[in-house]
Symmetry: C2
């Protein structure tokens, strides 16, 4: 596993990722009682660091995990330790280790903290951004707190695997007839030059790229509407693209085996990606 | 932690539970990609062993985790190794260890197997069975595959903790106006001498105690109906009880701070518990 050359920080101790072992009584292992973040590293620096650490604090508060630190320095330190220029940081904080019991009432636990930085030898979405990806629609049967970034991710895993088995790269999740998000991305559609994306709710994660794009597109004078998107609108969209930390802006050019718009990466997705590229280029 | 005196079996190796460490890249740790069972041990023997191993195989099939063994012998061995007479077995099988990726498409992973037996110094539900417990109702915002016994349990944990904070011991979960189950139990109501419990669906786990009670009550000539139970019916029930491996039959005598029926452990709950007691007494 290439992961053996990654240096992880586990509760402040540095060691190869493949040699990090957690107690099985860690609540992440038996209850998915943990939160996480994934950050993209460009030019040796984490992109949108404060957006990620702010969201992490919100996740910790929602879960009432008391981890009294900002994690910004810990992230920077791990990137430096791995000497990663292009890559991603994974940061997971679990509630802690305790005898197995669903309830954590009155338990005073010490959170466990895992951080590692994985290098990218090439842009992980280069090919997909060029050709676009195939998507499927799928019922969103995840839990009702997808706004908290937790490791309660089994539905996401099962659905993404199913998408792959269908020859697709991502699933667009539909709850009660409307689009929520992808299994690990947010969803935008474009219709008549207007960018449309589902509003924040407990059914979607407020993606850092999602907000970056909304703000950037608005600032550049484009129309962006946050509103519910009916499943049927997907099939009438001029363009569909997903946004994520790793996939950045990636076009969905085929959905449920039907072409989306012209079936190619469209100008509005390119325009959105260009906003990101500009911001990355401007990083100091 | 008392857990240090428990001998666990981890991938076939015996060691103290508190010294079992799993790779953080185990998918249980980052994705709750694991299934489990909890069995009750009476008189040194697992109760309803085949019901549990059968359900475990169903969970493994649903999740497409290939663990080509029955686990019955492994369970018996661990009970013997711990010399437990009264207690419980915890068995967890995770998909395996891999670089982090939601999708497990085309991954050939080796499942990780954890088994441990925890002794009970006293009956863990003795007091609660005598006095009954307090319950609250709570929105069921768990995922849509609660029929598979997985570690995707964060909602259960958050809701059970909330119940404890409200001074209650269990939450009865309500989805779309009807009862699904407890956070770690099935729910029965009794009205006019008839036992009523929600039918099997993707929103409830088919509890081994639930089925044992349905079969036993029917065999003893009682009326048992499996049908949807409206939330409002809870407050008009003569009795409510939960069933679980550890709690067995435990009466909910107060719900949302209102007495259930006469507000005491009722005759039908006692009758149901007696069926269990008889079966335990008859164990050889």
């Amino acid at each position: 596993m290439n992961e053996s050359s990654i240096i992880a920080s586990y509760n402040g101790k540095s060691l190869p990722l493949t040699e990090v072992f957690a107690p099985v009584l860690d609540r992440a292992f038996m209850f998915s009682d943990a939160v996480y973040e994934v950050l993209r590293v460009y030019k040796g620096k984490p992109f949108l660091l404060s957006a990620h650490t702010t969201r992490l604090q919100a996740s910790l508060r929602s879960m009432r995990i008391a981890a009294n630190q900002d994690f910004g320095d810990a992230i920077l330190n791990n990137i430096a330790e791995n000497q990663v220029k292009e890559g991603m940081v994974y940061l997971q904080i679990s509630r802690g280790v305790a005898p197995r019991n669903h309830s954590f009432f009155a338990m005073e636990l010490k959170p466990s903290i895992l951080i590692y930085t994985k290098p990218f030898l090439e842009h992980p979405a280069a090919k997909e951004q060029q050709t676009g990806i195939k998507g499927i629609t799928h019922e969103d049967y995840r839990w009702g707190r997808c706004d908290i970034k937790t490791t309660n991710l089994l539905a996401n895993c099962l659905i993404q695997t199913h998408a792959n088995e269908m020859g697709a790269q991502e699933a667009i999740l539909i709850r009660n007839g409307v689009v929520s998000e992808g299994t690990s991305s947010n969803v935008f559609i474009v219709k008549n030059g207007i960018f449309i994306t589902p509003p924040k709710s407990t059914f979607i994660l407020a993606g850092t790229r999602r907000q970056f794009l909304i703000d950037g597109l608005l600032a550049a004078g484009h129309s962006v509407i946050e509103r519910q998107v009916e499943k049927t609108e997907l099939f009438n969209a001029d363009e569909i693209f997903i946004s994520s930390t790793v996939k950045e802006v990636t076009s969905v050019v085929q959905l449920d085996q039907k072409p989306v718009g012209k079936g190619i990466v469209g100008p509005f997705a390119k325009l959105a990606q260009a906003l990101l590229d500009d911001a990355i280029l401007a990083m100091k």
